[in-house]
Chain length 301, copies 2
């Protein structure tokens, strides 16, 4: 028998995991244990802190519902989601438009709309037109690409927060025309606090972070043979554009609505034009870092 | 605005956390983010793996009840609890008997028994006598020390598993005599599988680990002015004595029952004598790495 020390305990764990038949699981768990133990040694984690972490993580898990994914939110505010997204982009054969986070508010069964419709079926607020074209990296139009869009209303709330998943609003799917063009109406999104009533909100408050995301509109765009694009466009006049709590903003994704845009397919409201370029995937990988919360929870129960 | 890369995203997170007023929270979270990001970069964590982890952790949280602490179990099987325990022992002014894990089956309101009673109020099985003395490190008896004991029954099950927290058995508290002596009866504990029906059990199976803990009896011993001792004694003839799934065994804690022990205060059954030496705490810290699961959950709801 070997008596364990603060350093040898790591080797003992690795040894006990060494028979893992799946080589990738073996590699990931070995690295996880090494880094987690290094962390505990680095800060000399105390029993009280460890117990607080156990209670915190338990609460994060128990806060999850089909309409709320508190673990994704935790990953988001610690920059892990952004990092996984950046690592993932490196695996693509070709990158198009920059990606951003899927986040915890995507829903996979959003309604389909006809071109020009408004996704604001319940919410009201200042109208906004979104239009653009989906192309490959070189600018070749991608006919009939599918554009999935979701955003907060003009008060900064997602439908999943307002209706606890019972009703959808401010989200929908559009099929581009034969030139890859799309346009739809919506209302101006507002930046918002991440949900502050749960354990992740408590952490953000303890860290004196503002907890805000700048106003944005999420897109998930797919076309056969191209890499699914998960991204968002961010409104450049939002006061938190430089300090997104979940680290999703890139310069190339920042936009400003334009009044009296002569090219806009619908007049009489501010318009944002954004053209999306799809890259090429390596193998059958998608661009998603995330999933519909109800799908995650259904694997749990 | 700074566009983030797989390396600069870590600095962006640290910068956003840099205003944390509590210096210890700031230090711990900064180290956690650094090590977690290093892990993700080290293995190039994929979106599918990240999502599997989100689902896994959600399930761990949702498996927790007042009678079951799946996050403590996860920490245990990854050796983190053992490491925190070892780090914690280093902070003591003086160490007595070696410590071991509190584990997820401690309950703080166990019944009190009179010396010589049996803690097996429901379970049956081969009888066993436990006796010994609680002293300081030099051997000075500690009068009226409180000995809390808990163990599985002779089938390898805790009361919290058998009765879902509705009823207690195989646990109890004893007050030592004026010489620090204690003795009580119980039944022979059996080694056991950690709970295999939850997500942690699934991980253990995917890693082809046996998932067993060698048979043991938990002790939590306290006396005024001394460091609370959390430990366990392990039965040396258990086939898993060298491969505890939660890394709790130390050589000095391994025992064997003795038939016809001439010193045993009760005859007619195998006896184990173990004398416990209490160390001295630094400040008001306890020796506990863990807590009663119902207490952890009550902070959640």
């Amino acid at each position: 028998m070997r008596d364990l020390t603060t350093s040898s305990v790591t080797d003992a764990v690795l040894e006990q995991m060494s028979g893992t038949p799946d080589p990738r699981l073996k590699q990931v768990m070995a690295s996880l244990v090494r880094h987690m133990h290094d962390f505990a040694r680095d800060v000399s984690l105390t029993p009280e802190e460890w117990l607080a972490a156990i209670g915190f993580l338990t609460k994060v898990g128990q806060t999850c519902t089909p309409a709320r994914q508190e673990f994704i939110l935790l990953s988001d505010v610690l920059g892990l989601s952004a990092l996984v997204n950046l690592l993932h982009d490196k695996t693509a054969v070709e990158i198009g438009t920059e990606s951003s986070l899927l986040g915890p508010f995507y829903q996979q069964d959003a309604p389909s709309f006809a071109m020009g419709d408004s996704i604001a079926t319940q919410a009201d607020g200042p109208e906004l037109l979104l239009y653009g074209q989906v192309t490959d990296k070189a600018g070749k139009p991608l006919p009939h690409a599918l554009v999935q869009v979701w955003q907060t209303d003009s008060k900064g709330e997602y439908d999943m927060q307002k209706y606890q998943g019972e009703q959808m609003d401010m989200r929908g799917n559009f099929r581009c025309d034969s030139e890859g063009r799309f346009h739809f109406r919506t209302v101006m999104p507002l930046g918002y606090f991440i949900p502050m009533d749960g354990p992740v909100g408590g952490l953000i408050q303890a860290q004196r972070r503002h907890g805000c995301r700048p106003a944005h509109i999420h897109f998930l765009i797919g076309a056969d043979g191209y890499r699914e694009l998960v991204t968002a466009i961010y409104l450049g006049d939002d006061p938190h554009i430089d300090s997104d709590t979940v680290f999703g903003v890139s310069t190339s994704l920042v936009v400003l609505p334009r009044d009296n845009d002569p090219d806009a397919p619908v007049k009489g409201m501010p318009a944002i034009r954004y053209d999306f370029r799809l890259g090429i995937a390596s193998g059958d990988e998608t661009g998603r870092v995330g999933a519909d919360p109800s799908q995650i929870l259904s694997t749990v129960e």
